[in-house]
């Protein structure tokens, strides 16, 4: 009797064990399959620009003239690469100080109000659709820049400002978590030695949490790098390297969204757009590696 109960128990255990194992394996298998097929698809399309259409990779990465419909077609993607990097970095330059200050406010200065009101409000920004950001940018930021700076208002500056608002939640959330996780002994020690609050924040909190803050910034840049719609609406989309922050420019994503639907699969123009997508994908991998490296460092 006791034995049969035990056997039943054991078989139940076995079933649960196997159900869990098979389920996990299926999920992981699907995940890996999805990721690999995505990468394979983008890579095979993107690389055919070089192998099938015979575009020289050096021309693509250093060329400044993008005229895929002209005779002969020219595929110089440097303006897009420059545009993508400058808007993302500009966005990070604007958002990083704001995010850090917001985190200091939430954790150190007014935890009650900060946690209850400010943090949810900032996180709300992440839930706003990007087309709304684009339209607000087009209706508010672009006319504002047009009035006070020379140029048409569209350009890297407008793109950077719109993106900075979009990546603020990422940077703030990570900075808040990092600040909250700081051992209180460090701060108390600093206060005990007679530092003021600002001296403690500036000399102790900032340097110790720096790797985590950088992680947030890199994640923010990665998000800005991949954002398409909002940027496309405010950047102007001229395929040139702009001479000022207020002159029409392009990013990798805006070039792709602008032309992907109008070109035909398999044509040189379409393949070149996939090459831009491949560059985006590769850059995202690089950002992920930077984040992992920063995380490793912050543990030491």
């Amino acid at each position: 009797m006791a034995r049969s109960v035990e056997r039943e128990k054991r078989s139940k255990h076995l079933v649960e064990e196997w159900v869990g194992r098979v389920y996990t394996l299926i999920c992981v298998g699907l995940l890996v399959l999805t990721i690999f097929s995505m990468v394979y698809f983008v890579a095979s399309k993107g690389l055919s620009t070089f192998f099938r259409d015979g575009v020289n990779p050096i021309d693509l990465f250093t060329g400044v003239k993008w005229a895929p419909e002209s005779e002969p077609p020219l595929f110089g993607a440097l303006p897009f690469i420059v545009g993508s990097f400058s808007t993302s970095i500009l966005a990070a330059l604007i958002a990083a100080p704001l995010g850090f200050c917001a985190a200091v406010f939430i954790v150190e200065l007014m935890p009650k109000f900060g946690r209850k009101v400010l943090q949810p409000v900032i996180e709300l920004l992440a839930g706003i659709p990007s087309v709304v950001y684009g339209f607000v940018g087009l209706s508010v930021i672009v006319p504002f820049f047009r009035d006070i700076f020379p140029g048409q208002g569209l350009g890297l500056a407008a793109g950077g400002v719109v993106l900075s608002i979009m990546i603020l939640p990422t940077i703030t959330t990570i900075a808040t978590d990092a600040l909250a996780a700081l051992p209180s002994g460090l701060k108390e020690g600093s206060y005990a030695l007679g530092s003021t609050r600002w001296q403690t924040i500036y000399r102790i909190v900032l340097p110790t949490t720096l790797p985590a803050l950088l992680t947030g910034i890199v994640l923010g840049i990665a998000r800005a790098f991949g954002e398409a719609l909002a940027v496309q609406m405010v950047i102007g989309n001229a395929p040139h390297i702009p001479r000022s922050l207020f002159e029409s420019a392009s990013t990798l994503t805006s070039a792709i969204t602008l032309s992907m639907g109008n070109t035909i699969m398999g044509t040189a123009h379409n393949n070149a757009l996939w090459t831009l997508a491949l560059i985006l994908l590769t850059m995202t991998f690089v950002f992920v590696f930077i984040v992992r490296w920063l995380e490793r460092r912050s543990k030491v």
Binding site: R146, Q232, M233, A238, P242, G261, N262, G266
Partner: protein
């Protein structure tokens, strides 16, 4: 615990199967749902299996997918709704995606109708384009528009070419105030731009430093209306008081001038099928050019009815009187 696990597993399984079903459109013919994401199901023509429960009065049946030009999408979509009300056995899905996508998908058999702003020959290889049958359902005319504060009323072809290739950069050179010209163009791949280049400029425009490029007509209109010294071009249906329409070679962009052939900047809206369409699809295409649609939805949405055109024009621009 175990039950909830089984539940999650079965959901995953269902999704996997659904994904598999979507991949081979051939077996999914019975699926007559209007699920926009499942393109495979919509492409299958005339499988009677899915339409057993249809109205006995309607002898036409089948489910079809029309995809392509976003400019043409609202027209086809509305006409399709009206057609489906009359023929309950027919399902027509209309999707956007751009002229290039539409032509490619109809050519590869992924869609039944490819909506396009341009002739198939301009986008596809000659042998692929030859397989497609052209159905011209409407005419869309375009006009050059400027910021309301620009004083110029008329631009010649040569002046437009000079502006869009960067030879003329100031409004004073074409009789306006001393103000820099800001070009609001479309991307090089756009069908609207192709039409404007072909019939208004007669040459390719340059992608100049500092110019603005936008894909959507709404954004172009907003930017031209707000940016001092801006020039762009819009379909007639988008024109209103926020932008100023300029004459082309002294001719005003009106429906009559397009219909009698004096205003040249217009293009056909095409609906391509691969080979001859089947009965239900033919009925829908006939419906598109019927008086009900041509004098109704077509006019409402700002297109010019094909039936009103007194001239026809082929792909090379040769005009003949009807």
């Amino acid at each position: 615990m175990k039950k909830s696990l089984m539940f999650v597993m079965s959901i995953v399984l269902v999704f996997t199967l659904a994904a598999c079903g979507g991949n081979n459109g051939g077996t999914a013919g019975g699926n007559n749902s209007t699920n926009g994401t499942n393109e495979g199901a919509g492409t299958n023509t005339n499988t009677g299996a899915g339409n057993e429960g249809t109205d006995a009065a309607a002898d036409l049946s089948g489910s079809y997918l029309a995809t392509g030009s976003s400019a043409l999408q609202p027209l086809v979509d509305q006409a399709a709704q009206m057609f489906m009300e009359k023929n309950s056995g027919v399902t027509i899905q209309v999707q956007g995606g751009g002229s290039g996508t539409g032509l490619a998908q109809v050519s590869e058999g992924q869609a039944n109708i490819g909506n396009s702003d341009v002739f198939a020959e301009e986008k596809l290889d000659a042998d692929k384009a030859a397989e497609l049958k052209d159905h011209q359902v409407a005419v869309v005319a375009m006009a050059a528009v400027v910021n309301p504060e620009v004083t110029v009323d008329n631009l010649t072809k040569q002046q437009l070419v000079d502006i869009f290739t960067g030879t003329i950069t100031n409004w004073s050179e074409v009789g306006g105030a001393d103000q820099k010209i800001v070009i609001v163009n479309r991307p090089a791949s756009s069908g609207t731009r192709a039409t404007f280049e072909k019939y208004a400029l007669g040459t390719k425009a340059e992608d100049l430093q500092g110019m603005i490029q936008e894909d959507s007509s709404g954004t172009v209109k907003k930017l031209v209306g707000e940016t001092p010294g801006a020039i762009g071009y819009l379909a007639l249906s988008y024109l209103d008081d926020t932008v100023k329409t300029v004459k082309y070679e002294g001719v005003e962009a009106t429906e009559e001038n397009v219909a009698n052939g004096t205003y040249p900047v217009w293009a056909y809206e095409h609906m391509y099928t691969k080979g001859e369409p089947d009965a239900a699809l033919q009925a829908f295409l006939d419906y598109m050019v019927s008086d009900e649609v041509q004098n109704g939805v077509v006019v409402e949405l700002g297109y010019i009815p094909v039936s009103k055109m007194q001239i026809t024009r082929d792909i090379d621009g040769n005009v003949t009187n009807k």
